[in-house]
């Protein structure tokens, strides 16, 4: 068993990508490192185990990335999705450093794949882990073990004792027993608070009970709350999070990628009263999938239904749950638990509003509606060919954006602007510094990797020579 009573140079709290990047970097700088992971070994890796790729800047094609993706392009994309809610200095540090991250990951034993299908066409901007994020985490943990990093699973850190901006010790529960852990420096990489429904209720009320958490059930945000309570500077809107509309039949936690539904552009989406509420064809899906979680979260009862006919069935990736089928709209409404007359009316009105056009699933086509509100501005086709198909949708929360404020050295800042002496942060718990709103694929892993490595570099300096 890992000895938790020793004095370590670096204590890393969390067990995902950011945590392991920090641990490995600090260890390679000569520090003794202890990693406390809340999850058991089988579920280690936080949300990273559900990830698939990393958004990386590159100036020429590489083995895993096509064409080039410049700092300017990357920055423009980030500015676009966040609507300017970002820290340009920290963002540019992240962007520049991603040029080195793929190579670094490979030297830690990670493998990448040449990009293939089903990935929202990201081969130019994103490098894909062979086998996904869990395989990446497996590689990291093997490297950590080889380097002599101590890892304790089932070890939840409850609080840090902060005195005059310096962490004295950490209070943890390891395998069910309380323990005080001491270290010269600390990296918090313990994620957001998305798995803490109580906390989500503070902002969302009862609606939070209907949220599905796509990733790890271990991201309770205990340390985040603990640090904010002790005067650490907060960053990010507590109501902001990465949320997508997922299949309502998904499990409460850890359903991951297979619960997502990409059918919305080819459907109409109705709420529990069978009314449409938003333009399903506003833009191409990669640019819109991340708004639908919030849209559904803001509807009564936090539920919605995607309705389409057999023409659209093969146009999107299948989810793991079977489509609900019926030979008439009335029957479909009945199966979905919707009012039959109301759904019939909505479909009838929608069909009457569809304008002639040339359907093209791959680009912004000219199939749109006229005279209804909200309109459907692309991919609008009459819903008339049985079998009719429905999918129930719920908001699926990936991670929350409220975090701790950091400087360019990943050092945690107090509310008075002073940096903490020995406390650093990386990953979801500080992603809000760069990602104030919105989302783009692979940016979470980019921030985690870059700031994990920075935190590792800085805490490595605490090594006793």
């Amino acid at each position: 068993m890992t000895n938790l009573n020793e004095l370590y140079d670096v204590l890393v709290i969390g067990g995902g990508n950011a945590a392991l990047c920090a641990a490995i970097t600090a260890r390679q700088a000569g520090a003794s490192v202890l990693v406390l992971e809340h999850a058991p070994r089988e579920f280690r890796g936080g949300n990273s185990r559900h990830t698939r790729n990393l958004r990386a800047m590159h100036l020429q094609p590489t083995a895993t990335l096509t064409e080039s993706y410049s700092e300017a392009d990357y920055w423009t994309d980030l500015l676009d999705v966040t609507g300017g809610k970002t820290d340009e200095h920290l963002a540019r540090i992240t962007i520049r450093d991603t040029t080195d991250v793929v190579r670094w990951m490979e030297t830690q034993g990670a493998h990448f794949q040449p990009s293939l299908s089903g990935t929202l066409n990201l081969s130019r901007t994103n490098a894909f882990f062979l086998g996904g994020g869990k395989a990446l985490m497996n590689a990291y943990y093997l490297t950590a073990e080889r380097l002599g990093i101590k890892v304790a699973y089932n070890a939840e850190v409850k609080s840090l004792r902060l005195v005059d901006g310096a962490v004295q010790d950490a209070i943890a529960v390891s395998e069910g027993a309380p323990v005080t852990v001491r270290a010269r420096s600390i990296v918090v990489a313990s994620g957001g608070f998305q798995a803490n429904v109580e906390w989500l209720r503070e902002y969302w009320g009862d609606a939070a009970d209907n949220f599905i958490i796509r990733g790890t059930p271990f991201a309770k945000g205990l340390l985040l709350r603990n640090l904010l309570d002790q005067g650490v500077a907060p960053i990010g809107d507590p109501k902001q999070c990465h949320a997508v509309a997922i299949d309502a039949r998904a499990p409460k936690f850890d359903g991951g990628i297979v619960t997502r539904l990409d059918c919305i552009p080819f459907s109409i989406v109705v709420d529990h009263e069978a009314r449409r509420f938003y333009d399903e064809g506003e833009d191409i899906w990669p640019k819109r999938y991340a708004i639908w979680g919030r849209l559904v979260a803001m509807r009564p009862k936090q539920i919605a239904y995607a309705i389409m006919d057999s023409k659209s069935e093969e146009l999107f990736m299948p989810s793991m749950y079977p489509a609900i089928r019926a030979n008439s709209i009335r029957e479909l409404a009945h199966k979905l638990g919707l009012d039959e007359n109301a759904l019939e009316k909505t479909v009838r009105e929608f069909n009457a509003a569809v304008q002639p056009g040339t359907f093209n699933s791959g680009s912004l086509d000219d199939c749109r509606t006229a005279g209804i509100n909200p309109p459907k501005t692309h991919w609008a086709r009459v819903i008339d060919t049985p079998p009719f198909i429905g999918y129930p949708l719920r908001p699926g929360i990936t991670f929350t954006y409220l975090g701790v404020k950091v400087d360019e050295n990943a050092r945690v800042l107090m509310s008075n602007g002073q940096p903490c002496a020995n406390l650093f942060a990386a990953g979801e718990i500080m992603a809000g510094n760069i990602l104030g709103e919105g989302y783009m694929a692979g940016i979470g892993m980019a921030i985690g990797s870059v700031f994990g490595r920075i935190a590792g570099r800085e805490t490595g300096k605490f090594a006793r020579n």
Binding site: Q113, P114, S117, L130, D254, G256, M317
Partner: protein, 350 residues
């Protein structure tokens, strides 16, 4: 498999996932095809975010291995022999013992004096122990039948998995190279997962050693037949003759390969394995190991009084091997190659 098809994180590991993605629903023929396309590298098990203890409890290598075991019984020819795949380990070991006993008894009763008589390894020494007619006759009959049964199995598989009657040369070449290089064992270049999350080439190299060893031994037998029937040179041959050299190198390869594979298997994490397959695996590995070991022992001691017994022993093992051929794990080579051929044919050209 529905989960896999909506996840697709594993598509870089091997040919199974891209083949899966070409389908939305799976017929039983599709499942047979995918099950035999799987090389059991287990990369997808360790990378799977839904593997047990996750509530989805996804264990693809185990599921495919079980399906694979079913296909061996399903496509066997003649059909009533499907039952031998139920208890394959027992079947193969019984058959092996019986074949050895039979050859020993045969030798002892036909040429009782020759069995323990020391004689120099001069031409015709082997036939002194076992008459040429018996050896060649039995060998050609069993070999011929095995080939017929394997061909019928291939035909059954090919039909059921929807393979067309014509195959392009390009597909054939691709499948051929896939078989020879075991490209699909673990992401093409990183190897497979045997004990845990770490990748290793051990299994691939051991299999190659066994496979090429087997081919060399087969080549040795063929050259020996050529020597005898065309050149008129009768076995045993000199140490530095082609048949002996091929057999020696091949036999060593098989010994190392089968031992390596058994070692990998003993150490392997049982979680992603299918128990139903283990007895098949060990039975074939043991047969091949024995075949190589008795062959090499025979070579070492062919000038001693043990030659007669060892020859009978070796031939007994070989006889059982060919008798069991269509009814042992050996069939995986046929169906795997067929699946690779099917895959090469349906894969879009770049």
């Amino acid at each position: 498999m529905v989960i896999c098809n909506s996840c697709r994180y594993c598509e870089g590991f091997c040919a199974v996932f891209p083949a899966m993605e070409m389908r939305r629903s799976f017929s039983s023929g599709d499942l047979s095809y995918l099950a035999n396309l799987c090389h059991d590298c287990r990369g997808c098990y360790y990378a799977c975010q839904y593997a047990p203890p996750h509530e989805f409890a996804l264990n693809l290598p185990q599921t495919l291995a079980r399906l694979r075991a079913d296909t061996y019984a399903e496509y066997v020819w003649p059909r009533p022999l499907a039952a031998v795949f139920q208890r394959n380990g027992t079947f193969v070991s019984l058959l092996t013992s019986l074949a050895i006993a039979l050859v020993l008894i045969l030798a002892a009763s036909l040429r009782p004096s020759a069995l323990f008589t020391p004689r120099p390894a001069e031409p015709g020494a082997f036939y002194a122990v076992i008459p040429e007619v018996a050896m060649v006759g039995v060998a050609s009959m069993t070999f011929g039948f095995a080939m017929l049964a394997l061909a019928m199995g291939f035909r059954n598989f090919w039909r059921d998995t929807g393979g067309g009657p014509v195959v392009q040369t390009r597909s054939l070449l691709q499948a051929f190279s896939d078989v020879l290089t075991l490209r699909n064992l673990g992401g093409g270049e990183h190897g497979c997962n045997n004990r845990d999350e770490a990748f290793s080439q051990a299994r691939r190299y051991a299999h190659q050693s066994m496979f090429y060893g087997f081919m060399l031994c087969f080549a040795s037998t063929c050259t020996a037949a050529f020597y005898e029937h065309v050149l008129g040179l009768v076995a045993p041959y000199r140490l530095f003759s082609l048949p002996v050299l091929l057999g020696m190198v091949g036999g060593l390869g098989m010994l190392l390969g089968t031992a390596g594979l058994m070692w990998v298997k003993v150490q392997a994490d049982p979680a992603p394995a299918a128990k139903a397959m283990l007895s098949n695996d060990y039975a074939l590995l043991a047969q091949l190991f024995l075949a190589a070991a008795t062959g090499l022992l025979l070579l070492i001691s062919r000038d001693t009084r043990m030659m007669g017994v060892l020859l009978a022993l070796h031939l007994g093992v070989i006889l059982s091997f060919f008798l069991a051929l269509p009814y042992s794990k050996f069939v995986h080579g046929i169906y795997r190659s067929a699946a690779l051929l099917r895959n090469a044919a349906e894969r879009p050209t770049k």
